[in-house]
C-alpha cells in the first residue's frame, strides 16, 4: 500500500475499482437564434459569424429544468431507480440561484432524495466534467455504486458582445457506476489546471468579461493540448487509437484546430462537433458532444473527450464503448432528435426569452 506514494505528477486518474458510464442523457432546448440575426442587429448585417446558430432556452426553462430532463434520460438508459444514486452533482455557471443549490431541485424532481450527496459545481465550462471526475472517485472508491454528474448552462453574453453569437443553452447528464454495468468504460482521466484569467464574471454582474484574444493560445489551446497529450502519453495511446474525439467547443474553429494539433481527423470529431448548430453550451458543451457521439458509437470504439473551462483548466477522459450500448441507448431521445425539433426565433424574441429587457 504505502509504496505507491508519492504518486508521480503525470499518473492518470484511474480508480482502484474500474468505473464507467451506466447511463447518459442530453437536452437541447428547441429555440434557435441564427448568428445572422445577431449580425443584423449589431454589425449592420456584415460580419463573419463564428457559428450558424445557437440553442436558446425558452421562457420557462433554466439550468434546473434542462438538467432534470437530461437526468431523466440518463436514468432511462441506466435502467436503475433514481434512489440508487448516491450523488447528484450539477456543474454550471448559470445556476438559477446565487444561494440555494440547483442539485437539490434536480435530485427531488428525479426522485433521488434524501440519501445523497448533492452540490453545485462551478468552474466555467468545465464544471460538469469536474463533477464527472469526482463521480469516478466516489464510485471507484466503493463509497457509492452510482453517482450522477451534470453539466448545464443558459449562457449569456452582453448585448452586442462577441459572445452573443455563441452563448447557448443545453444540458447533459452522466451516471457513473461499476465498469461491468457500463455502456462505456472510463479507462482513465487527466486534468491540467492553471490560474489564467481569460474569462470571468464578478458577483452580481449579469454578463461576463473576457480577455479577447487571450482566450485562444494560452487558455483554450494550451490547456486542452496539455491535458489530452499527457493522458495519451500516460496510457500509451495516439490519435489513431481513437474512433472519435470530442473537445470543448466555444465556436466552430477552435475544436477543429485543437483536434488537428493533436493529430485527429475531421471525421473523428464529426459526430460530437455540435457548436455550429447549437452554439457554445458552456458546462454542457463537451458532455453534449460526447452524448451525440455515444448515440452513434459501436462497441469497442474508443473516444477521447477533453473539456475546457476558463480560468482555467481542462479535464481529459478516455472512454471505451461496450456491448451494452446497443441495448440501452434507444430508450431515450437522441441528441440529434433534440437538435432536430428546431424553432427559429428573431433577435426580439431572444431578448424577451433571455430577460434582457430592463424593467
Amino acid at each position: 500500500m504505502t509504496e505507491t506514494f508519492p504518486q508521480t505528477t503525470f499518473a492518470p486518474l484511474k480508480p482502484d475499482r474500474p468505473v464507467g458510464i451506466i447511463g447518459y442523457g442530453a437536452y437541447v432546448p428547441q429555440y434557435r437564434l441564427p448568428a445572422s440575426e445577431v449580425a443584423r442587429i449589431w454589425k449592420g448585417g456584415r460580419a463573419a459569424t463564428p457559428i450558424k446558430e445557437k440553442a436558446v432556452a425558452g421562457l420557462d426553462e433554466d439550468v434546473a429544468t434542462m438538467a432534470i430532463e437530461a437526468a431523466r434520460n440518463a436514468l432511462k438508459r441506466a435502467g436503475i431507480p433514481a434512489d440508487h444514486l448516491r450523488a447528484v452533482w450539477v456543474g454550471s455557471e448559470s445556476h438559477p440561484y446565487a444561494v440555494k443549490p440547483t442539485s437539490t431541485i434536480v435530485a427531488e424532481a428525479i426522485g433521488a432524495v434524501p440519501h445523497i450527496q448533492a452540490a453545485d459545481w462551478e468552474f466555467a465550462c468545465k464544471a460538469g466534467t469536474e463533477a464527472l471526475v469526482a463521480s469516478m472517485g466516489l464510485v471507484g472508491s466503493g463509497m457509492a455504486r452510482y453517482a450522477m454528474a451534470i453539466g448545464a448552462d443558459t449562457a449569456q453574453g452582453r448585448p452586442g458582445d462577441e459572445l452573443e453569437f455563441t452563448a447557448a443553452s443545453g444540458a447533459a447528464a452522466y451516471i457513473v457506476g461499476p465498469a461491468e454495468e457500463a455502456l462505456a468504460v472510463i479507462e482513465a482521466s487527466f486534468s491540467y489546471v492553471t490560474d489564467t484569467p481569460d474569462f470571468w464574471r464578478r458577483p452580481e454582474q449579469k454578463f461576463p468579461m473576457h480577455g479577447q484574444r487571450f482566450t485562444g493560445e494560452p487558455a483554450y489551446f494550451k490547456h486542452i493540448t496539455e491535458a489530452a497529450q499527457h493522458l495519451m502519453k500516460a496510457t500509451g495511446t495516439t490519435a489513431q487509437d481513437f474512433r472519435y474525439a470530442v473537445f470543448h467547443q466555444p465556436n466552430t474553429k477552435f475544436p477543429q484546430r485543437v483536434a488537428s494539433l493533436l493529430g485527429f481527423t475531421p471525421e473523428q470529431i464529426k459526430p460530437g462537433l455540435l457548436s455550429p448548430i447549437i452554439g457554445n453550451t458552456y458546462a454542457a458543451a463537451a458532455l453534449i458532444g460526447l452524448a451525440a457521439t455515444l448515440d452513434v458509437a459501436q462497441p469497442g470504439d474508443r473516444i477521447l473527450v477533453t473539456s475546457f473551462g476558463s480560468g482555467a483548466g481542462s479535464d481529459a477522459f478516455i472512454i471505451r464503448v461496450t456491448e451494452a450500448i446497443t441495448q440501452r441507448r434507444g430508450v431515450a431521445p437522441t441528441t440529434q432528435a433534440y437538435i432536430a425539433r428546431r424553432v427559429e426565433i428573431d433577435y426580439g424574441t431572444y431578448v424577451r426569452f433571455r430577460g434582457k429587457l430592463a424593467s
Partner: protein, 135 residues
C-alpha cells in the same frame, strides 16, 4: 408567504407523484389519501408516466397575476394514460396548432417566480408534444 404550501406539493408538482388505490387499483391525481372512486383509504404513492392526450384547451392572452411574463400561453385538460384528467400548461408548441387528442408528455418547467428577481422559483409539470424515441 406561500412557501410551506409549495414545499409540501413539490413531489406531485415536479414529477407527477400521485397515489394508487390498494382496493380498486384506480390511479389518483392529485393525491388526496381517499380514493374518489371507491371511497376507501388510498395512500400508496404512484408516479405517473407523464404520457397523455389533450382533452380540451384554451389559449390565454391576458394572464392572471404572477403569470404575465409567460403570456400568451395555452392551458389544457390533459387525460393521463393512467386515467386521471389534470389541468396543465402546454409548452414547446412552437408553430404547432394544438389539437384535441394530441399526444403530450410531461416536462418539469418553471411555473413562475414569486417575485421576478428575488422570490423563490416555482417548478412544476407542463406538457409538450411527444418527442420521438428511436425504439
Amino acid at each position: 408567504m406561500e412557501i410551506p404550501r409549495h414545499w409540501r406539493l413539490k413531489q406531485q408538482r415536479y414529477a407527477l407523484v400521485g397515489e394508487v388505490c390498494p382496493h380498486c387499483e384506480e390511479k389518483i391525481f392529485p393525491p388526496r389519501d381517499v380514493c374518489p372512486y371507491c371511497g376507501n383509504e388510498a395512500k400508496t404513492q404512484f408516479t405517473f408516466s407523464g404520457r397523455g392526450t389533450v382533452f380540451s384547451f384554451t389559449t390565454l392572452t391576458e394572464a392572471p397575476a404572477g403569470f404575465e411574463q409567460a403570456a400568451p400561453y395555452t392551458v389544457a385538460l390533459v387525460k393521463l394514460e393512467e386515467g386521471p384528467v389534470i389541468t396543465a400548461q402546454l409548452t414547446d408548441l412552437g408553430d404547432r396548432p394544438v389539437e384535441i387528442g394530441m399526444p403530450v408528455e410531461m416536462v418539469t418547467r418553471k411555473i413562475r417566480a414569486e417575485d421576478e428577481a428575488r422570490g423563490v422559483i416555482l417548478y412544476g409539470y407542463k406538457f409538450r408534444p411527444v418527442m420521438e424515441t428511436p425504439k
